[in-house]
């Protein structure tokens, strides 16, 4: 979580905290219990909004039947998982699926031999996956370069902390499992630092699939979209990738990406955290 997120969380949670301190003013009987219950619900909702807003938000809009018009002609359905557009009596439904192919872009632990094998197979696997798809889709990789020196300093700091932990555990002279775990972490950081030293640019990336289905009614288009997304998930499963349907505000963000992209890494990072 970034600094802004921490600030929002701390200030918001101060309200239920103060509420608990003045709880006796609501009486000791049933009313006091209900008041405590409301404050607990407040804390739970804030926590959910912080870590899984994409779960809570579609539930609320689904229950209340709230739809959005993000731009002229477009509509975000109440389930917050599709965008529908009607043209000449035909409905076009668009949905997004996360598809982070990290295994192919920035290996952390696997030995170079395995990495080479995977990269060797990648073009074949990709082509085989595409050949099984008979509907339109897009695979997007939105990437932004990071400041090499800043990333390097950060990695060196993390490695130093793990080295300090390792020396502490070794002085105690027990728990081989913990020693191995710490050595593994140090190796990961070292591998990353070595890559940066070789001139590789650190990247932040968001990878996702977009697919559009067509139907003679909104429901037909949405049903068709759901089956297309399932087919996409099956076809792409061979790529060793986690495919999750995007819901909520990130759907709106990805929709807007089709008409304009962020112009800095900071702006891009603001849009994604949990699903991205």
């Amino acid at each position: 979580m970034d600094e802004e997120g921490v600030m929002y969380l701390v200030f918001t949670l101060m309200m239920p905290l103060i509420g608990f301190t003045v709880l006796q003013s609501f009486g000791k009987g049933g009313f006091g219990i209900i008041a405590a219950g409301l404050l607990i619900i407040d804390v739970i909702l804030v926590m959910i909004m912080n870590w899984a807003d994409f779960v809570l938000f579609p539930i609320i809009t689904g229950l209340l039947g709230i739809t959005f018009q993000p731009a002229a002609g477009y509509s975000i359905v109440k389930g917050q998982d599709s965008i529908v557009m009607e043209i000449n009596g035909l409905f076009y439904a668009t949905g997004f699926v996360t598809g982070n192919l990290f295994a192919y872009s920035f290996k952390q632990e696997t030995a170079p031999q395995d990495e080479q094998g995977k990269m060797l197979q990648a073009p074949d696997t990709w082509e085989r996956a595409i050949m099984n798809i008979d509907f339109p889709f897009k695979f997007h990789v939105a990437a932004a370069g990071l400041d090499s020196q800043k990333v390097r300093d950060e990695l060196e700091g993390k490695r130093s902390y793990q080295e300090y932990q390792l020396s502490k555990v070794m002085q105690e002279g027990k728990d081989n499992m913990a020693i191995e775990e710490l050595q593994r972490k140090i190796n990961i950081y070292q591998t990353k630092i070595d890559r940066l030293s070789q001139g590789e640019r650190p990247l932040a990336s968001v990878m996702y699939f977009e697919t559009t289905a067509i139907g003679v009614s909104e429901k037909a288009a949405l049903d068709s979209l759901t089956s297309q997304i399932k087919a996409l998930q099956i076809a792409m499963s061979s790529m060793d990738v986690d495919l999750v349907r995007v819901q909520g505000r990130e759907l709106y963000t990805l929709f807007r990406f089709n008409f304009g992209l962020p112009t800095s890494f900071e702006e891009m990072a603001l849009y994604f955290d949990q699903q991205g």
Binding site: V46, A72, A122, W126, K138, H140, A143, G145, G260
Partner: protein, 277 residues
């Protein structure tokens, strides 16, 4: 002050004030329910305050419109620049220009040796890291646009049918009528074959944006960025990328260009006919 921060502080302040009001109201049978109601509103304000970090785009229109069909924007999401080489949208006081760069890659893994496959995979990895600017690389599979071809076939069928009607009306020779009927059957069969299945095309492209206080400023900045990116792509793959112009841009932006209307309506009609039969 930033609008987002203002809304957050406003809602947070409201929740604190309501909590204090609820706690200061004296306990009695008549006021207990009121106290709880005020506390419930304070809780809602508190959750909304936190949610405003990400959902400000929704919270403000929700309060202003108080309807279940909320309009976030009633404007077109973009417009084509006068130079036809980028799309523009207004964000706050700034203009955001986006350019699309076509990457002409026509290589297949089936034609590659193991070494070439490895090289290609590494080139793709390098491609993603070419630019420091946020850039989106896309591979798009879309339905081939057969609209004009289908329309041409339909026009030809109409013409042949008119020819046949004229021949029948003028009591022409039976062999001549049969010849025209054969021609009509041939064109119909062709339309059936073309309309039955959709053919797919695969394209790769990159997109990037730039901001500017004026339209021309945003456009010239994005063109500058695009030129840098194009030279990087060209050096990586040994191809000549080009900026997508005019109507071609719509293929990458509008959903109906992914699935062209006539091509698909012909297919839907065929499917319905087959279901009825």
């Amino acid at each position: 002050m930033d609008k987002k921060l203002l809304v957050f502080l406003g809602l947070l302040g409201l929740s604190f004030i309501l909590l204090l009001i609820a706690s200061f109201i004296p306990l009695s049978i008549a006021t207990d329910v009121v106290k709880l109601l005020i506390l419930a509103v304070a809780v809602v304000a508190n959750v909304l305050a936190f949610s405003s970090r990400y959902y400000l785009y929704m919270i403000l229109p929700l309060f202003q419109q108080r309807t279940r069909n909320i309009t976030l924007s009633d404007q077109s999401p973009y417009w084509l620049s006068s130079t036809s080489d980028s799309i523009l949208r207004k964000e706050g006081d700034d203009f955001l220009a986006t350019v699309y760069i076509n990457i002409p890659l026509y290589r297949s893994a089936t034609e590659m040796s193991d070494e070439e496959k490895l090289d290609f995979a590494q080139q793709v990895s390098r491609l993603v890291g070419i630019s420091k600017e946020p850039t989106r690389f896309t591979t798009q599979l879309y339905v081939m646009n057969k609209d004009s071809y289908i329309q041409k076939l339909r026009d030809t069928i109409t013409m042949v049918e008119e020819e046949e009607a004229k021949l029948v009306a003028s009591n022409a020779a039976q062999s001549e009528i049969e010849r025209v009927r054969g021609k009509s059957a041939m064109w119909r069969k062709m339309l059936d074959n073309v309309g039955r299945g959709s053919s797919l095309e695969l394209s790769s492209y990159a997109a990037l944006s730039a901001r500017g206080g004026k339209e021309f400023e945003a456009i010239s900045m994005v063109q500058q960025k695009a030129r840098e990116l194009m030279s990087g792509i060209g050096a990586t793959f040994g191809v000549s990328p080009n900026i997508v112009l005019g109507n071609e841009l719509l293929k990458f932006v509008e959903p109906e260009y992914l699935i062209p209307f006539s091509t698909i309506s012909e297919q839907i009609t065929k499917n319905i006919q087959e279901e009825v039969i």
